[in-house]
Symmetry: C2
Subunit: 232 residues, 2 copies
């Protein structure tokens, strides 16, 4: 760190890998670019950080502008700073992932200026993305996969009330492998932070499953020791 700060003639951006879960499939939000470079390509939503804005703050703002949603769990996962990653100039991008409930009441409404359109795309068959966005996605997905084991991120993707089968499908989608139903349920319930509701699925043409919700208080209580170790 130097005293006289030479200016760095570059731009800083945020790119977001926004995960959603819908119809048993894991999806991310993509935009179609309306101008060069990479005109007509699909890309991750992202934008530039403002001069007077912290990057966490910027990430929140940009996600809000792109989806209309606020206060989501956003987590920074990597910064990409290769010199030539952007053909128009030096752009260093800080990548975040976010987890949202696709089915929540609000529509996802991206800014028009930004892209021709925005849409959800299944992660299982992503096309090549603009810039190094395929790498960014891959890195982010791996982080999410890993964090799934020790952070309650699944519950940010599911609706408030969900069935154990939905939870299992989500785990299977993220981990990309089949899990044993009995063992899965046994394990999830053994944690003690899933609250069984007096309510069942509706509008299904078969036996309705019990609904559960994630009990944030109990989760915090159960894992406060672990967290303390992390912080200490």
């Amino acid at each position: 760190m130097e005293e006289n700060l030479p200016k760095f003639e570059s731009a800083i951006s945020i790119d977001c890998v926004i995960f959603g879960f819908d119809a048993g499939e894991l999806k991310i939000l993509l935009i179609e670019r309306s101008a060069d470079p990479f005109k007509d390509w699909y890309a991750l939503p992202g934008n530039l950080v403002k001069q007077d804005e912290g990057i966490e703050e910027a990430a929140g703002r940009i996600l809000h502008e792109l989806t209309g949603l606020n206060d989501l769990h956003m987590e920074q996962f990597h910064t990409f700073g290769e010199v030539n990653r952007h053909p128009s100039g030096r752009v260093i991008t800080v990548a975040y992932y976010a987890l949202i409930r696709i089915n929540s009441q609000k529509e996802v409404k991206p800014l028009i200026e930004f892209a021709k359109k925005a849409f959800w795309h299944p992660v299982s068959e992503l096309p090549k993305l603009a810039f190094d966005h395929s790498d960014i996605f891959k890195t982010g997905f791996n982080k999410v996969r890993r964090r799934l084991h020790y952070q309650p991120i699944a519950y940010e993707l599911l609706p408030e009330k969900f069935t154990l089968t939905q939870l299992q499908q989500l785990y299977e989608a993220i981990l990309n492998k089949k899990l044993d139903k009995r063992n899965f349920r046994k394990k999830m319930l053994s944690y003690g932070f899933l609250k069984e509701l007096d309510e069942k699925q509706k509008n299904v043409s078969f036996r309705a499953a019990k609904l559960y919700k994630f009990d944030r208080r109990k989760y915090a209580k159960i894992f406060q020791n672990d967290l303390n170790i992390e912080e200490s």
Copy 2:
């Protein structure tokens, strides 16, 4: 991402948390600042990224300039971008950690221009650091602690040949808790990537322990499946 790239009037820096292990203690490399702001404070070694230099490259260069060492395992762990984290202007810093063998032949030789001095300091009793460097350290240490469980980072801190007791002391220093000797040895040896040498400790005033070395080939073979899952 915009087409016409407005310039971001800021500096990008790299800060390094450089871990070493010596005399049974985990240490990091600090510098003492020679000028304001934070004159005379201790700080993490760091420097600005150049205009035409990728950040990975910059991290390698900066670490080299500060220690004379090359080709170390460096890993990016977080980017700090609060607006006011640096009193002289906007500086966004990408933080890396590195793991080195303090006792290796070469001396650590920091650039003079940079700081009054550079020295190893035990992590167990760090003073307050300049800027937000205490936070950076804390975040980095937590990442290292977590990665210890699934990446072979311990062997980058130990000498080429080491005893199981040294390995255990290192684990205890990073995890900050006592481990059971028998269980620890059993588990480490069960992985199958530690090679027992026909050699013992020298110059000790008690029974000499067997020396082991980390077998990178075997490690790669054993964990290639896991890695494939990560990449896929």
